[in-house]
């Protein structure tokens, strides 16, 4: 006699989704690259259609991508699937582009009728601007890190971005763990000072 086959609900999708979120949180390069490359063109089209250039598209998209990444890391945005990531990126980019079009700089040169049918709901607006409080300080750190000397930059990137273990980094640098940790600390001090001076 045939047995009725029980159809279990697939845990696969949510599992996969959690994997994506985790991958984003640990800055997994392949995942980030995949998300970056698959969602770019939609935004490029949006910006090109609304008086922007490819350069604008790149800048706006990269800003949007950083916001997306930051919000995933802080659990401010919990994507349900890749579509929601795509939609989220699009909304942020749209908002950022609208901001740009409305900015004084832009209005000086372009008539306001150029601001087309771009709409962003208020809730999106609030979400996106949620962490504006830290923005200024964050940007000075980012700028400081940008101009930080290469040895420190490389060490800190390995440790904080690539999430490599102290042991592995020490091996790479051919140092013992204690010296590596101390080196890292001194690099952090340097970065702090730089960020303060650049402010």
């Amino acid at each position: 006699m045939l047995e009725m086959q029980t159809i279990k609900s697939k845990p696969y999708q949510s599992f996969e989704q959690n994997q994506v979120i985790d991958a984003i949180k640990i800055n997994d390069t392949d995942t980030l690259k995949h998300l970056y490359t698959t969602n770019y063109y939609k935004i490029e089209i949006l910006i090109l259609k609304n008086n922007g250039t490819k350069e604008h598209a790149k800048d706006i998209y990269q800003d949007a991508f950083l916001v997306f990444w930051r919000n995933v890391k802080q659990d401010k945005f919990v994507p349900q699937n890749e579509n929601s990531i795509s939609g989220y990126l699009y909304t942020i980019a749209k908002h950022k582009w609208m901001d740009y079009l409305r900015s004084k700089n832009y209005k000086k040169t372009v008539v306001s009728s150029a601001i087309l049918d771009i709409e962003v709901s208020e809730t999106d607006f609030d979400k996106i601007n949620d962490d504006k409080i830290n923005d200024e300080r964050l940007h000075s750190v980012m700028h400081a890190f940008k101009v930080l000397g290469m040895p420190c930059k490389s060490l800190l990137t390995k440790f904080y971005f690539e999430k490599k273990s102290m042991k592995d980094i020490a091996k790479e640098l051919q140092l013992d763990a204690a010296s590596t940790r101390n080196k890292k600390y001194r690099c952090m001090q340097k970065l702090r000072e730089l960020a303060l001076n650049l402010k």
Binding site: N27, T29, L32, K33, Y36, T37, Y40, K58, Q62, F65, L66, W69, R70, K73, N134, R137, L138, H139, S140, V141, M142, H143, A144, F145, K146, L156, T157, Y160, F161, R181, N182, Y185, M188, L191, R192, E193, A195, L196, K199
Partner: protein
């Protein structure tokens, strides 16, 4: 950021452990407690958080440019592949032309074979030497029967000048030209015969005309003319052409 906020290596590592959840539960308890009750500690934690986030953000930002380069490379590859696609289309077209060309050649060969299989010159008319009236005509017929097609043709074409619509002359000139491998030239003479109202040669003329078109690879006209002929071979050729 307050430069006077001294953060020691120990403090930095402690806060880091608590932030990336590698701290012990005891450490975490301590961390939570100090966060609530020690404003300076809270500031230090915020500062470290900002530093860590700033490092990651900038590192990612710089990576995004790498991702973007890949994007443009991808696009370039697309352009290349579009170009390749274009080239491919041309190549396909070229192959098609070659294929059709060779098909035509093969078909041509097939037509030629079919033609060779079925073409044999008309046996000609019996020569009656007594008839002086048509002496020149029958004289050429002798040449024709002996396979001297060019000689026959020369003589008949002279006669044709005074009787251009003569069906007998046109018919034999056509057939002689075919026997002389001048199929293309044969067509106009044979056509004259098929167009004449009443000719005893009409039936045969359609047959040879069909063969002439077959030899010159004009299948449609070959079929058309062969269908007008009741010569047995016509049906055979037609069925072979239709296969």
């Amino acid at each position: 950021m307050n430069p006077n906020t001294g953060i020691t290596q120990e403090l930095l590592e402690f806060i880091e452990r608590c932030l990336n959840k590698t701290a012990t539960s005891e450490e975490l308890q301590d961390f939570e407690y100090r966060l609530k009750n020690d404003p300076e500690f809270k500031t230090q934690v915020t500062e470290i958080k900002t530093l860590l986030f700033g490092i990651e953000s900038q590192a990612l930002k710089e990576k995004l440019d790498d991702f973007h380069k890949e994007l443009t490379e991808e696009q370039d590859q697309k352009v290349v592949s579009i170009k390749f696609e274009h080239f491919r289309k041309i190549a396909v077209a070229a192959i098609l032309v070659i294929a059709l060309g060779s098909l035509w050649l093969f078909r041509g060969n097939a037509n030629e074979k079919l033609y060779a299989k079925h073409f044999s010159p008309d046996p000609g008319l019996p020569t009656m030497m007594s008839e002086t009236q048509n002496f020149e005509f029958y004289d050429a017929m002798v040449n024709y029967k002996q396979g001297e097609y060019q000689t026959a043709l020369d003589k008949w074409q002279l006669l044709l000048q005074s009787k251009p619509q003569n069906d007998t002359l046109n018919y034999f000139i056509g057939v002689a030209k075919m026997a002389n491998k001048q199929e293309k030239k044969a067509i106009e003479y044979l056509e004259t015969v098929t167009l004449s109202e009443t000719s005893v040669f009409k039936n045969e003329a359609y047959y040879y005309l069909g063969l002439a078109y077959l030899k010159t690879d004009n299948i449609e006209l070959a079929k058309k003319n062969l269908t007008f002929s009741s010569v047995d071979n016509s049906k055979k050729i037609l069925s072979e052409l239709n296969n």
